[in-house]
C-alpha cells in the first residue's frame, strides 16, 4: 500500500510497509542527512520537523506522517546556510557531526518558539539531542550567537 508524504515541500509516494519514517527517508528517498543512531528514541539524531515540531523519526510510523508537513535537515539547508548553521560552524559546535543534523533541527524549533532563550530554556529544549563528542558547551554558545545574544 502506498501513501503520500510531503517532505521539504515536495510530494512523494512511498510504500511504508510498516516501517518508521526514518527508514523511508533514508532507505527509499536517500535523504541521508537524518541519522539513525539508536532507533530507540533516546538520542535525537533522527529529529525531523513534523508540522513544525521536532519528532524522533525513528519512532514515528511512516503512515502516521501522512497529511503532515515534514521538514528534514535537507529542507533546512537549501540555498545558503541558516544563521543557526553558520553559528554552529563559527563556534565549532560540532565535532564528528553525526548528531549535528538533529541538533540543528531542535535548535531551529527552539529559536522559532523562543527567539532569545535562556540557559535553562536551551538545556530543556536540547536535552533530547545527545552528542557523544561533547560539543554541548559550544552548541549552547552557537544557539546564543544565532539568537544575537552572544
Amino acid at each position: 500500500m502506498t501513501i503520500a508524504l510531503e517532505i521539504n515541500g515536495q510530494a512523494y509516494v512511498v510504500e511504508p510497509a510498516g516501517r518508521r519514517l526514518l527508514a523511508v527517508l533514508r532507505d527509499d528517498l536517500e535523504l541521508l542527512g537524518t541519522k539513525l543512531a539508536c532507533g530507540e528514541g533516546a538520542c535525537g539524531a533522527c529529529a525531523v520537523l513534523v508540522d513544525g515540531r521536532p519528532v524522533n523519526s525513528c519512532l514515528l510510523l511512516a503512515e502516521a506522517a501522512e497529511g503532515h508537513e515534514i521538514v528534514t535537515i535537507e529542507g533546512l539547508s537549501t540555498g545558503r546556510a541558516t544563521a543557526i548553521q553558520e553559528a554552529f560552524v563559527a563556534e565549532d559546535a560540532l565535532q564528528c557531526g553525526f548528531c549535528t543534523p538533529g541538533q540543528i533541527v531542535s535548535a531551529t524549533v527552539l529559536l522559532e518558539r523562543v527567539p532569545h532563550p535562556t540557559h535553562e530554556q536551551i538545556h530543556e529544549a536540547m536535552a533530547g539531542n545527545l552528542c557523544r563528542c561533547g560539543a554541548y558547551p559550544k552548541i549552547e554558545r552557537a544557539i546564543l550567537r544565532a539568537a544575537g545574544d552572544a
Binding site: 541521508l32 539547508s77 565549532d92 560540532l94 565535532q95 553525526f98 548528531c99 552548541i139
Partner: protein, 750 residues
C-alpha cells in the same frame, strides 16, 4: 637524500623499534615560541564545518551502492554457550536472502581469530551473518536460523575471575626499588581502594562497513580510526596486495578508541560481498554496538602510599585487577602510580582477569584514565593525612625526569599548569567554598594531575600540490574522526605556504593516494602528521620562490611570501602569487614531506592539571559539577578553537565516568542489562558544567618543526579524579567505587 633510520614508535605507551624513512631535506626549524605567525595559534572554524552542519557529509552508514545487500548478524544471547543447532538452509530459503555464513562455513578470508563463534564466550558475540536484498529480509533470515544454544557457565565478576586465577595474559610486575621496606619505614601511610566502572565508548555512528569487489580489487568504506590498518587487515585476510584494497573513511561518527582497523564489520561485509558478487553493508544496531563495540575495562585498584611528614612520597604500592573480557591489550592502568611523582620505591602489579565479556579495547586514554581515578584520590588521602594542601603535596613531589627510564622529558610545564589552574579555579578560596550558602548543598573543590604520552612519531607523510590558480591541495593519511585535524593541517600548510586559509584544501580519509597517516588514536595525529605537512609545504614554498626569482630576475632568497602575495625584501616587488603560479598552465608544484624521528634520549609526555568544583545534594544524593578548570601542557596550540572542543569533550566523558556511566552486567546471566542509549547514561547538554580552559602553550623544542604534542586524550585523564576529590572535600567521605550515582552517594553519606 632519503635514508632509513632506526627509531622508536610509541602508541599509548607501547614502544616499538621501527625503520623509518627520513628525507634529509626535511630540515625545517621549529617556529620560535615568539614567532610572528599569521594563522598558527589563531582560532579557525573547521574546513568541513558547513557541510557537516548541513547534513551533507556522507558517513559509512550513508554509503548507498547499486545492488547493495544488507547484512544482519545473529549474536549470542548468552555470556557463554555452545551452538547445538543452526539452520543455515532455512535462512537461505527466506525470500531476498542471498548469503548466509556461520561458524562452520568455508570462508575465503583467513584471520587470526575465527570470524564467527560456535562457542560464543560473551553476550553479543557474532555467530552467523545473513546478507539479503533488504535489512528486513536479512533479519527474517536471522530469525530463520533458529539458534539452539546450550548455555555454559560464565565468569563476569572481577573477584570471581581473580579467584579462578584465569588471566588473558600473565600478571605483570613493574616494580622498582623496595616498596615494602619503604612503606614500613614511612612516617605516614594511607591505603585506598577503588572500583572503576566499565565504560562504553558509544559512538553515535555505530561500527559499520560497506564492501564492494571489482575482480580482485576490494573497496571498503569503514567507520574506523585507522583506515591504513583496516586496509592492511583486509590485505592479510584475503591474501591481497596493498594496492588491491582501497579503504575510504572520509567521515567517522565518533570512535573514542573503539574503532580500530577493519573490525568484524568490514571483514564480514567483504566476505559476504565476495560470496554474492554484490556490495554488502553491515551496520551495528545500537544494542549490538553497546554489547560488542567495546568498552573501557572495569578495574579494582588498591593504592598504599608512604610519606615523610614533610610530604615527600617514599613508597608507592599499587595493584590493579582488570576485567579484560576475552582479551585485548592490557592497558597501562598503573602508569600514573609509576610516573606521576618522584619515588624510587614502587611496587606495581597488574592482574588481567579473563571474563565472559567482549575483549576490552581502547577508550580515550585507556588504562591511564582509570588509573588516575584511583591513584590521584589516594594522593588526596595522603594530603589529608599529612594535613597538607593537595596541590602543594603534588608540587613537592614533582618528577623532574621520567621515573621509569630516568630520561629527561622533552618538555614539561606541569608546575605552570598547577599555578594557572589554581589561579583560574580560585584555589586559595577553597576552604571558604565549604561555608553553607543556605541552599542545602555541600560544596568542595578537588584537583588531579594528568600524564599521558602524545609525542607522535614517524611514519607519517604528506604531499602538497600548488596549482596555477595559487590554490594548494594537501594530501594526507588523516581520517578526521571529529577532532578537526584536517583543519589543523590546513592551518600548518597555509602558514608555511604563505597562502590564505581558504586557498588550501586538505584531503584525507582515503588510502588510495597511499600517503600514510597513523591511526587516529594515542593523541598522535597532530604531532605525527603536522611536521610532515609543514615539510611538504616548505618544499613547495621554496620551489615557488625559485620560480618567482626566475620571473622577476631576483634571487629567491630576497623574496618572501605571505597572505598570498610575493614580496621582495626591498619592497620593489609586491604581487599576487598568481603572477607566478599563473605561468604554470596545467603543471603543478609538488612537494612531499615525512615525519622525522623523535629525539633520542628524551621521553615525550603531555601534562596537566584539572580542578573541579562540585555541589552535592545530601538529600537526593545528586552530585552536580559546577565548574572545571583545565590547564594542559600539550606544546604549541595550533587551533585554539578545535583544541578547546577536544578539552570540553574529554572532560564531559571523564565527568560521566565519575557520575553516571557504567555498563552493568547481571551476575546471574552474565549479560549486560543496560546496553541501550536510554539506560546507559551519557551526558546531555543539561549536565554541562562551566569549563575554563588554558594552556602554557609553550612549543616543545625537541619535537620536529611544529612543537605540538597531542591533545585528544589528556583532557579525559584527570577529570574523574578531580571530581571525586572535590566530592570528598565537600562531604568528608570518599566512595569506594565510581560512578557516584545517587544510590551510591546516599550510601556513602549515610
Amino acid at each position: 637524500m632519503t635514508r632509513f633510520v632506526r627509531s622508536q614508535k610509541e602508541m599509548e605507551g607501547r614502544y616499538e623499534d621501527v625503520w623509518v624513512l627520513v628525507d634529509e631535506t626535511d630540515d625545517v626549524e621549529t617556529w620560535a615560541p615568539d614567532a610572528d605567525l599569521a594563522l598558527v595559534g589563531r582560532p579557525a572554524p573547521r574546513l568541513d564545518g558547513a557541510a557537516r552542519a548541513a547534513g551533507r557529509v556522507r558517513f559509512t552508514v550513508d554509503v548507498r551502492l547499486a545492488g547493495m545487500l544488507h547484512a544482519a548478524v545473529l549474536r549470542s544471547p548468552a555470556a557463554h554457550g555452545r551452538v547445538r543447532s543452526l539452520d543455515l538452509d532455512a535462512a537461505r530459503a527466506v525470500p531476498g536472502v542471498r548469503a548466509v555464513i556461520g561458524p562452520e562455513s568455508d570462508l575465503s578470508l583467513t584471520t587470526r581469530a575465527p570470524l564467527l563463534a560456535a562457542e560464543p564466550a560473551y553476550a553479543g558475540q557474532p555467530i552467523a551473518v545473513v546478507a539479503a536484498d533488504t535489512l528486513e529480509a536479512a533479519r527474517r533470515g536471522v530469525a530463520a536460523l533458529a539458534l539452539d544454544l546450550e548455555v555454559l557457565a560464565h565468569v563476569v565478576g572481577l573477584q570471581e575471575g581473580l579467584h579462578e586465577q584465569s588471566f588473558t595474559t600473565d600478571p605483570t610486575d613493574d616494580s622498582r626499588g623496595d616498596a615494602e621496606t619503604a612503606l614500613a619505614a614511612a612516617e605516614v601511610t594511607i591505603e585506598f581502594a577503588l572500583d572503576t566502572p566499565a565504560q562504553v565508548q558509544t559512538p553515535l555512528e555505530p561500527h559499520s562497513a560497506v564492501a564492494s569487489w571489482d575482480g580482485d580489487n576490494l573497496t571498503a568504506w569503514v567507520s574506523t580510526q585507522g583506515m591504513f590498518s583496516a586496509r592492511d587487515e583486509l590485505v592479510r585476510a584475503f591474501g591481497l596486495r596493498k594496492d588491491d584494497v582501497r579503504v575510504r573513511t572520509e567521515y567517522v561518527g565518533g570512535g573514542f578508541g573503539a574503532k580500530q582497523g577493519a573490525g568484524f564489520e568490514a571483514l564480514a561485509a567483504a566476505e559476504l560481498s565476495r560470496i554474492t558478487g554484490r556490495p554488502v553493508r553491515l551496520v551495528n544496531d545500537r544494542h549490538a554496538e553497546q554489547l560488542d563495540g567495546g568498552r573501557r575495562a572495569a578495574t579494582r585498584q588498591t593504592v598504599r602510599l608512604g610519606a615523610r611528614l614533610d610530604g615527600t612520597i617514599t613508597a608507592i604500592d599499587v595493584d590493579a585487577v582488570i576485567a579484560m573480557g576475552q582479551g585485548g591489550w592490557v592497558f597501562p592502568v598503573l602508569i600514573p602510580a609509576r610516573t606521576l611523582y618522584r619515588c624510587a620505591d614502587v611496587r606495581a602489579l597488574s592482574f588481567p582477569v579473563k571474563t565472559n565479556l567482549r575483549a576490552q579495547n581502547a577508550f580515550r586514554a585507556p588504562g591511564v584514565m582509570e588509573g588516575t581515578a584511583a591513584f590521584e584520590q589516594a594522593i588526596d588521602e595522603l594530603a589529608l593525612a599529612l594535613d597538607l594542601d593537595p596541590l602543594e603535596l603534588r608540587r613537592r613531589n614533582h618528577a623532574d625526569v621520567d621515573q621509569v627510564s630516568g630520561l629527561p622529558y622533552s618538555s614539561k610545564q606541569l608546575l605552570a599548569c598547577y599555578d594557572r589552574a589554581a589561579e583560574l579555579a580560585g584555589w586559595a578560596g577553597r576552604e571558604e567554598l565549604r561555608t553553607p550558602r543556605g541552599d542545602g548543598l555541600l560544596r568542595g573543590m578537588g584537583c588531579a594531575t594528568q600524564i599521558w604520552w602524545g609525542g607522535g612519531g614517524p611514519p607519517s607523510h604528506a604531499t602538497v600540490r600548488l596549482d596555477a590558480d595559487g590554490y594548494a591541495s594537501v594530501i594526507t593519511g588523516i581520517q578526521d574522526i571529529g577532532t578537526g585535524t584536517l583543519t589543523t593541517a590546513q592551518i600548518i600548510a597555509a602558514e608555511e605556504l604563505g597562502l590564505p586559509l581558504s586557498h588550501v584544501r586538505v584531503v584525507g580519509g582515503d588510502t588510495r593516494p597511499n600517503v600514510y597517516g597513523p591511526v587516529s588514536g594515542g593523541s598522535q595525529t597532530t604531532p605525527s602528521v603536522m611536521p610532515a605537512v609543514r615539510s611538504a609545504s616548505a618544499k613547495v614554498r621554496k620551489t615557488l620562490l625559485q620560480l618567482a626569482g626566475d620571473v622577476f630576475e631576483i634571487a629567491a632568497g630576497d623574496l618572501v611570501i605571505s597572505d598570498g602575495r610575493i614580496r621582495s625584501n626591498d619592497g620593489a616587488i609586491d604581487v599576487d602569487v598568481t603572477e607566478v603560479t599563473g605561468k604554470l598552465g596545467d603543471a603543478t608544484i609538488d612537494g612531499s614531506g615525512s615525519r622525522g624521528p623523535n629525539p633520542d634520549g628524551y621521553v615525550v609526555n603531555t601534562f596537566g592539571c584539572q580542578i573541579a568544583q562540585v555541589a552535592v545534594d545530601p538529600a537526593l544524593g545528586e552530585v552536580r559539577v559546577e565548574r572545571i578548570v583545565a590547564v594542559h601542557d600539550v606544546g604549541r596550540i595550533v587551533n585554539p578553537l578545535a583544541a578547546s572542543s577536544q578539552v570540553e569533550g574529554g572532560i564531559l566523558q571523564g565527568m560521566a565516568f565519575a557520575l553516571s556511566e557504567e555498563l552493568v552486567v547481571d551476575p546471574t546471566t552474565g549479560v549486560p542489562v543496560n546496553a541501550h542509549l536510554d539506560d546507559y547514561k551519557i551526558p546531555t547538554i543539561a549536565d554541562v558544567p562551566e569549563i575554563v580552559i588554558d594552556y602554557p602553550n609553550v612549543p616543545d623544542a625537541n619535537l620536529p618543526n611544529v612543537g605540538s604534542k597531542g591533545l585528544g586524550e589528556p583532557p579525559i585523564v584527570p577529570t574523574a579524579a578531580a571530581i571525586a576529590n572535590a566530592f570528598a572535600h565537600a562531604t568528608g567521605r570518599r566512595a569506594a567505587a565510581l560512578p557516584l550515582t545517587r544510590d551510591r552517594v546516599l550510601e556513602v553519606l549515610a
